[in-house]
């Protein structure tokens, strides 16, 4: 079976991989490249646990074919912490207990980071609607929304 040869840059690092057409970017990240921080909660774009950035756009990696990212930049949760230093969002999520089981957390942090890069001072409604595609069944969202607000404040100052 002939596979597609894909050259991409993941979290700043040039990476090449082979994949079949039906393999999604999420399949490739998790099964071929070992980036298991992106989670598969639904496989249909309804839960956001697989959120990644492709060429600066927030997408569900379960709805992107691996073959599609040839020549693209991909950023995953594994690239959010710069070296050993946690991103302000990650630190605030810890301080404010904005996670319980933690399975949705990588996708939410990737999505929230994308929001704050677009809008450094979002109000509660903007945060809630931006994150509407990231399901969390544990927290009721309260501490997540507050954590994003607090991280935004820290990042502004």
């Amino acid at each position: 079976m002939s596979k597609h040869h894909v050259s991409t840059v993941i979290n700043g690092e040039p990476i090449e991989f082979l994949c079949e057409t039906q393999q999604t970017l999420l399949d490739v990240l998790r099964d071929e490249l070992g980036f298991t921080g992106s989670k598969e909660g639904c496989g249909s774009g309804d839960c956001g646990a697989c959120s990644v950035m492709v060429d600066d756009r927030l997408v569900c990696s379960c709805l992107v074919l691996g073959a599609e990212v040839d020549g693209c930049r991909v950023e995953t949760i594994e690239g959010v912490a710069a070296g050993g230093n946690l991103h302000p969002l990650q630190q605030v999520f810890l301080n404010e207990a904005a996670l319980q089981c933690g399975i949705c957390t990588p996708g939410i942090i990737v999505a929230a980071k994308a929001l704050l890069e677009k809008n450094p001072d979002p109000n509660e409604e903007e945060i809630r609607f931006w994150l509407a595609g990231n399901l969390c069944r544990c927290t009721g969202y309260d501490k997540i929304v507050k954590a994003v607000q607090q991280a935004a404040a820290i990042m502004r100052s």
Partner: protein, 288 residues
């Protein structure tokens, strides 16, 4: 085995799509296609990714209106201030498709050609009088957007044809449009009812033209001419809005399904048409 091609020109894409015997599917944002392929609802032997064709990816002003590539992602539409100013309803519809993540991928072309009666992007395009460019083995043709979908999952596109772009005409000096949809939650649902209104006022504030389109209340998105007529010649007062809503309800031919009942869809279609018309009216009035 499933093939994958990423043509860079329309002709290349047509050449791939017209090859007899191989069932190839057009991939734009993929937010419907990939889900349907995975669930087995759709079969395909090949995927033709049209996102690498420049003209399918850009938005440009043309004769006072806009030409929008079929594969432009919802997020990109939302970021175009000039488009938002002229056709806020069209952009509202496009931006209501799915989550932020879906917006990063989903296109108006895909939303239309997926053929769902509930497509959020479509009613506002119909109300705006949009025309579509379709390319195929026989060259290019232009058709009104409401003629593309013929039934659930079915389009009028012939073998080897695909959608290239949409042309949004210039909005009238005192024209305004709006789209509203009803879903049980605030996000992430398929429209149970959608209503788009595009109306034009004269200098005295009388409605001179109006197009009303409904989604999810029939096998395909409807252009409800009677509803538009009910507004023309009026100041879009309550009486006119009631008449328009009644016409909208009369045009509904919905089904009971997991998303809504006939009673609910018919009633709410009138409610949303009215609310959308009021927003469109405000937008028309506010234009200098």
């Amino acid at each position: 085995m499933l093939t994958y091609n990423k043509p860079t020109t329309v002709d290349e894409a047509v050449a791939l799509l017209k090859q007899p015997g191989t069932r190839r599917r057009v991939l734009a944002g993929g937010t419907d296609l990939l889900v349907q392929l995975r669930s087995g609802r759709l079969q395909a032997e090949g995927i033709v990714d049209i996102k690498r064709i420049p003209e399918l990816q850009n938005i440009r002003e043309e004769n006072g209106g806009f030409r929008i590539g079929a594969a432009v992602a919802g997020a990109a539409l939302g970021e175009n201030a000039a488009l938002r100013r002229m056709w806020p309803g069209v952009v509202e519809g496009a931006n209501l498709i799915g989550s932020t993540q879906i917006q990063g991928r989903a296109s108006l072309g895909g939303n239309l050609c997926n053929g769902s009666p509930a497509a959020d992007g479509v009613p506002a395009l119909i109300a705006a009088g949009v025309r579509c460019t379709i390319a195929g083995p026989g060259g290019r043709r232009e058709v009104p957007v409401e003629s593309v979908v013929v039934g659930p999952g079915k389009t009028s596109l012939a073998e080897g044809e695909f959608l290239v772009d949409f042309y949004l005409p210039a909005q009238a000096a005192k024209g305004g449009d709006a789209y509203l949809r009803f879903i049980p939650r605030t996000e992430m649902d398929i429209a149970v009812v959608g209503a788009a209104v595009n109306l034009v006022l004269d200098a005295s504030g009388v409605c001179t033209a109006a197009r009303v389109s409904l989604g999810a209340v029939a096998p395909r998105a409807l252009l409800v001419e009677a509803a538009g007529k009910a507004l023309v010649g009026t100041r879009v007062d309550d009486a006119a809005l009631d008449a328009m809503a009644a016409a909208a309800r009369a045009a509904c031919a919905p089904i009971n399904d997991k998303r809504g009942t006939i009673e609910f869809r018919t009633h709410v279609a009138g409610v949303l048409a009215k609310r959308a018309a009021k927003i469109a009216l405000e937008r028309a009035r506010s234009r200098a």
